[in-house]
């Protein structure tokens, strides 16, 4: 569920590229990146076993 929007917008961006719609492809890429960063924030919260 958390990663799903990133995958939906990735598919949309590639589809728009194949259809020749550059503007919508770039908008979809931006949305993918935003949702991906949100998913990273949710999933990358484990404590590391090493000290940085």
């Amino acid at each position: 569920m958390i990663i799903l929007p990133s995958l939906i917008f990735t598919s949309l961006a590639v589809f728009m590229t194949s259809r020749g719609n550059r503007k919508l492809a770039i908008i979809s890429w931006v949305l993918t990146l935003v949702f991906m960063l949100g998913a990273m924030r949710y999933h990358m919260n484990d404590v590391l076993q090493i000290s940085l």
């Binding site: 569920m1 958390i2 990663i3 799903l4 990133s6 995958l7 939906i8 990735t10 598919s11 961006a13 590639v14 589809f15 590229t17 194949s18 020749g20 719609n21 550059r22 503007k23 492809a25 770039i26 890429w29 993918t32 990146l33 991906m36 960063l37 998913a39 990273m40 949710y42 999933h43 990358m44 484990d46 590391l48 076993q49 090493i50 940085l52």
Partner: protein, 189 residues
């Protein structure tokens, strides 16, 4: 907003071929991940899925160079996507630096997939920097469009892989947040 195809200058071909090779490499990496998932039964973890998204976004930048001609924006898409994907790979690498930790999933030529992912993202950033030099005279992007069947096939393959990963994510997590170490699909629970 489709570009008008015109006869491109011969100097545009090396860029086109290199972008196609890069996209083929990304598709190969994604297909390898699917091989491990479908043939060897290794269900991807959330961080693995995020790295796949990063790879697909990198592939998107190369696909846009193929479809619309080289552009600084497309290379920026590749670089920013690779940095994001590398962040996830590095995080997963750091998670497994612990005594007795054998890592997640199988190793390929001695490295786990997330380590290969980090190497691939770094290589992509270096490749894009070199391509910005190679393409320095064509970065306007509007008059160097080349159309080949192979370019369309590779873009279509990337779309299929994106839809495959979308399906895989739904089958792994359903509509709930993904668990850290999935061992079954939702229809097996």
């Amino acid at each position: 907003m489709s570009s008008i195809p015109v006869t491109p200058r011969i100097s545009a071909y090396p860029s086109y071929i290199l972008n196609m090779l890069a996209l083929a490499g990304i598709c190969f990496a994604l297909m390898t991940a699917f091989f491990f998932q479908l043939v060897l039964g290794e269900i991807p973890c959330p961080l693995c899925m995020l790295q796949r998204v990063g790879l697909m976004l990198v592939g998107l930048g190369f696909a846009m160079n193929i479809r619309f001609g080289p552009s600084a924006i497309h290379y920026a898409i590749v670089i920013l996507s690779a940095i994001t994907g590398a962040g996830v790979s590095l995080r997963q690498d750091l998670l497994h630096i612990a005594p007795g930790d054998t890592g997640f999933g199988s190793a390929i030529f001695g490295y786990h997939m997330y380590t290969w992912g980090f190497i691939a993202f770094m290589a992509t950033i270096i490749f894009s920097a070199v391509m910005l030099i190679v393409d320095r005279k064509h970065l306007a992007g509007s008059n160097q469009v080349i159309r080949t069947a192979l370019g369309s096939v590779l873009t279509g393959l990337l779309l299929l892989l994106a839809l495959g990963n979308l399906t895989s994510d739904v089958l792994t997590c359903g509509l709930a947040p993904c668990v850290g170490n999935p061992v079954t699909y939702i229809f097996q629970r």
